[in-house]
Every structure is written in C-alpha cells, then in structure tokens.
C-alpha cells in the first residue's frame, strides 16, 4: 500500500504570538511546528504501515525551510519526503494551493492520501477536500478512526452530534482530526537517518496538468482586502476583594443589569 500524507509547517500560535512594531504578525520570530491535525494524519499513516505494511510519503508545499518539517516526519518513520517550492507558488489561497498539491500528487502512485482537517494558521479546512476534488477522489473529512478493509477504508467520521461509519474504495482522501491519536516521538535513529535523508524538491515544472493561471497569488480567486490585528473590546473593571465582598460586588452588578 502507498500512502501520501500532506503536511504543513505552521507558526506555533499556542506559544504566544509575536507582533512586528507595525502590528503585523512577526512570523520570523515565531517557532514553527508540524500542524497538529497533519501530525495526527501522519501518525495514522504510520500505524497503517506498522499493521499492514505501507510506503509513507510526506509532501509539503512551502518555503525551502519547510524541508525541516519533512525531516521531522521522516524521523518519525515516513519513508520519503517531497518539498514543493517555487517563487511562482507564493501567496496562494486554498484553491491555488490545492491545485498545486494535486498537480504534484499526479506524479505519484497512491492508494490513500491523508491530510489534516485544517491548519492552525488559516483554520480553513479547505485544502484536503479540494485536493480530492481536483483528483476526482472520494473524500472523507473529520476522521476519528481509520481502518483498512480489503480494497476499502472504513472511517469514523465526526459530526456535531455524533458520527457516521463510512466505507470508501481506495484510492481516496481522508482528512484527520488531531484527536485521532497521540503522535509518536521521533526516534534517535530516525533523527540520525532523517538528517541525511534525501528530500525530493519539485518546482512549477514538476506539476502535472496545471494551468499557470491557477497558481500562486495571481491564480487565487480570493484576495485580501484588509488585514488587521483583532481589536479586543478591552477590559472593564477588575477588583481584588475578600470572598464576601466579591460576592456582593457580583450580585450588585447582576442587579444593576437586571439579570436578577
């Protein structure tokens, strides 16, 4: 079985967000991590590899430094790493990104493609289903559990109020939730090998069946009209009283506002 896992290097929004003096996000100062949902997708692929035997290829699109996230994945157990990077791909929205990744995947053989549900920088959850659409594959989003059944996958698909058990014939695409599993750590041997491993780098010329008009900033249907830091409503009062006075303070406020 051949599995492709799409991963993304993202700024770690958990570790506090850094801003430039002009108020824009200072990406250079922020640590980067493998996107959590993608890491769960990789772990799911590695478990299928452990159980059934599989070749796991990790693929990312990004700046040249995104190679780091491929090496991390290989240190966890992925077999091959492919970096898709090219100046003309910059500024891509989800449409142009999914077009690009689909164009890269057309070079590869696969039974299963796994992506994370969404990346913590954009939170769109669009690129996975859109890759499936470009490649004409069945898609199952929001996977909580993945099993192989002959030439099919059986996936537990999360909904707001429960789940569906779905069966799809391979090849297909699955988007993974971070609650799918607890990803394994890199092993010392894995790190040693991954540092020296060869990463395949592809550019525009390697994309199959892709029109220039659908790439990068120019090929993105959505355009940013305005971006700004979120304006918070600002803090109100803060009091530091003993318990009894605190209770009186809250009760008075609730009465003022006619809540009680």
């Amino acid at each position: 079985m051949k599995i492709i896992v799409c991963i993304k290097q993202v700024p770690d929004t958990k570790g506090g967000v850094q801003f430039n003096p002009d108020g824009t996000l200072n990406r250079a100062a922020m640590l980067t991590i493998m996107n959590p949902d993608d890491k769960a997708g990789l772990e799911a692929a590695l478990r299928l590899k452990d159980e059934y035997g599989a070749e796991v290829t990790v693929l990312t699109m990004g700046l040249p430094k995104a190679e780091d996230v491929l090496r991390e994945a290989m240190a966890m157990g992925a077999d091959k790493g492919i970096l898709v990077t090219d100046r003309v791909l910059g500024g891509a929205d989800t449409w142009a990104t999914s077009t690009t990744i689909a164009g890269a995947i057309r070079n590869l053989e696969y039974d299963l493609i796994i992506t994370g549900r969404q990346a913590i920088d954009g939170d769109t959850a669009q690129v996975g289903p859109q890759i499936a659409e470009h490649l004409g594959l069945p898609v199952i989003s929001y996977a909580q559990d993945i099993k192989i059944d002959g030439d099919s996958v059986i996936v537990k698909r999360q909904y707001d109020d429960g789940y569906h058990m779905l069966k799809a014939k391979m090849p297909c695409l699955i988007t993974a939730l971070s609650e799918l599993n607890d990803p394994r750590y890199m092993t010392p041997g894995g790190i040693f090998d991954a540092v020296k491993a060869e990463i395949t780098t592809w550019g525009r010329a390697n994309l199959v069946d892709v029109d220039d008009a659908n790439l990068g900033l120019k090929g993105s249907p959505t355009k940013i009209a305005r971006a700004s830091d979120k304006v918070r409503k600002g803090s109100g009062e803060k009091v530091n009283l003993d318990a009894e006075e605190s209770v009186k303070y809250i009760v008075d406020k609730l009465k003022d506002k006619h809540v009680i």
């Binding site: 499936a132 898609v139 109020d161 009680i260």
Partner: protein, 347 residues
C-alpha cells in the same frame, strides 16, 4: 460568461434527519441584509430526501425562493451527492453569492463545491458586508463595486482578515453558526418553490454509510442559553463542577466549559466554547477558572456581560471581562449561589 449574469443571494438550507439546522435561518437572515444592499432576493437551497415540506419553514424565516433538490441518494449527508446537488444548482441558476454554514457538514461541502465550480471560498466568516474592492481606490486598478467583503478570524483569532472574490462567481463563504441573526418568524409566509433534480448516479466517489450514530444527549445547546456558567481547568476536577452547576441552576443558566476541560475528559465536547468549540453570545457569561486563551475568547467575546473569576490576577480573561474578580472560586462561587438564591427569594 460575464460576472454580471450572476444574480441573487443563495444559502444552503442545512437539514439533518429532515429537521432544519438553526444555521439555515441565520444564513437567510444575513442573506436578506445583503440582498437589500444589492436590490435582489434570497433563495434557500434545500437538499435531502422527502424535504419539500420544510420549504414553508424557510419561507417563514424570510426566504423569497426555495430550490428543492429531493432524491433518495440525499437521505443522509454525503459529500459527493450533496456537492453534485449544489454545483448543479450553481451552474443552472448562477447566484452571485452562495453562503454555507461553517458546520461539520458545510466545512466539507463548501470546499468541494467551490473547487468544482472553480471559485473562491472564504472560511468561517463572522461578518459579511457589501462594498468596494479594493476598499480604497488604487490608481491603475479597477475598483469593483457591490462586492461581498468577507471577514474572518485567522491565526487562532489573533488577526482578522477581510477577503473579497472579485473575479469569480459565485462569491462563496462559510459562516460560523451563532454569529448571524435570524429574522423573526412570520407564520404563513410563502416562498416560490422550485423543484430541481440534476440526476444522481452513484460512482466511485459515493461513499457507503455503514452506520449512523447520534450522541444520545439531553443536553440543551449552549448556543441557545441566555446565561452561561463556564468553567476552565481552574475548577480543578470534574466533581468540583458541581459548584458551577449549582450556580447555573440558581440563576437560570447552563454550564459550559473551555477546551482544557474537554481535553481532560471532565465534560463532553458539546459544552465547549471557543475556536474549536461553539461560538456563544449569551446575555451573561461567567468565566470561572478560565485563563482566557485567545482561542477561548474567540468563542465568547460577543457576550453582553462577561464576569470573570480567577485567582491569577494576570489571567488574560480579565482583558475581555466587564467585571473581573480576583479570588478563589471555591469560596466565591458557593457564596454567590446562596446570595443569588436569597435575592431571588426576596423578590
């Protein structure tokens, strides 16, 4: 084909088990506001099996037209037949705007449809306006009018971005549930109902549903609550949530929680407020033992009154609270419950 041939605001009328989801009415309400600016009307696209009878309810909430796509293949949500239904409606009727709820269904359906009809999609919008793009005229660049300007949080709620889709139609957005206002229901209102079936022939992309499982729950939706008593990791244990439940009962509210509480297995996911949970805006939001991570704040900052109780006086929750109380929740909350009971009894 020219972009000007695309007319009207369309919304996806999501239903589950032939019951319309609240987001459907919220989208109609928001759609009407946008349609007014564009001097057009709102069409709800109702997709399912045996769903035609739901058209009147969509009309009661303001839909001018309802396109019904009814087919046995559409009984339960599946990506492919639903995407085929919406893409076919778009190709046939050519809407200028198409809104979908940012639900577990819409966030799968929206991207698939947008890729199929080759247009842009802005995810998880919290505000929509009609305006110019670019917002300020740029010499040498055409400024287009009557564009949909879609505003959404990004970077875990740290930034907000406004997005336009100037050169492709329809302009598509998924919209966060609980953010837009539905209109008052007008009983007896009628919409023009159009039945449309593009044909559904199963292919490799139709997945098979082996089992449908509903979480059995009598928990009321926290998005409907007027008062929420929300607890975080600082509550300390699942048992200690009793303090919050007592307060909620005394004041006529409901308990909700932060992500940390769900991750610890203390409370079910359906009670989670925040970026990866639900967006709430009750009249009163008590944040008790919640530090106020930006992802949590994103889901509750629109509440009318925010009261925070936390022992850490530097907790970021105090930056958004109207009334912040620094102190021990174990002492304050039970005493508050008794005081509120006494106030209500004295009325």
């Amino acid at each position: 084909m020219g972009l000007e041939e695309y007319k009207g605001v369309y919304v996806f009328a999501q239903q589950v088990d032939n019951v319309l989801s609240n987001i459907s009415f919220e989208l109609i309400g928001e759609g009407k506001r946008l349609a007014k600016d564009l001097d057009t009307d709102v069409t709800a696209v109702l997709v399912g099996s045996g769903v035609k009878a739901l058209a009147d309810e969509l009309a009661a909430y303001g839909a001018d037209k309802v396109i019904v796509v009814d087919d046995p293949e559409l009984k339960n949500y599946r990506t492919e037949p639903y995407a085929h239904a919406l893409a076919s409606v778009i190709n046939e009727y050519k809407p200028e705007i198409f809104l979908v709820g940012a639900t577990a269904i819409g966030r799968d359906l929206g991207p698939t449809v947008s890729a199929r009809v080759a247009t842009g999609l802005t995810a998880d919008c919290t505000s929509l306006e009609i305006g110019d793009f670019p917002i300020n005229a740029i010499p040498g660049q055409e400024q287009k009018h009557n564009q949909l300007l879609m505003t959404r949080p990004a970077f875990g709620g740290n930034t907000i971005a406004t997005i336009a889709c100037p050169d492709n139609r329809p302009q598509m957005a998924t919209v966060r549930p609980g953010v837009m206002q539905k209109l008052d229901k007008v009983e007896g209102a009628k919409a023009e109902v159009i039945e449309f079936n593009p044909g559904f022939t199963p292919n490799n992309r139709y997945v098979e549903i082996l089992e449908v499982s509903k979480a059995v729950s009598d928990i009321k939706d926290i998005m409907d609550a007027k008062i929420l008593v929300s607890g975080g990791r600082g509550v300390g244990s699942p048992e200690n949530f009793k303090l919050l439940e007592d307060l909620a009962e005394a004041i006529g509210g409901q308990v909700s929680c932060s992500r940390a509480v769900v991750d610890s297995g203390w409370k079910p996911k359906e009670l989670q407020v925040g970026q990866t949970g639900k967006t709430v805006r009750p009249n009163v939001y008590f944040a008790i033992g919640i530090s106020g991570a930006i992802q949590h704040v994103a889901g509750m900052e629109e509440s009318d009154i925010i009261i925070a109780i936390n022992k850490d006086e530097d907790a970021p929750i105090f930056d958004v609270a109207d009334y912040g109380v620094v102190g021990d929740l174990n002492k304050i909350v039970p005493a508050l419950t008794e005081a509120i009971k006494a106030e209500i009894a004295n009325k």
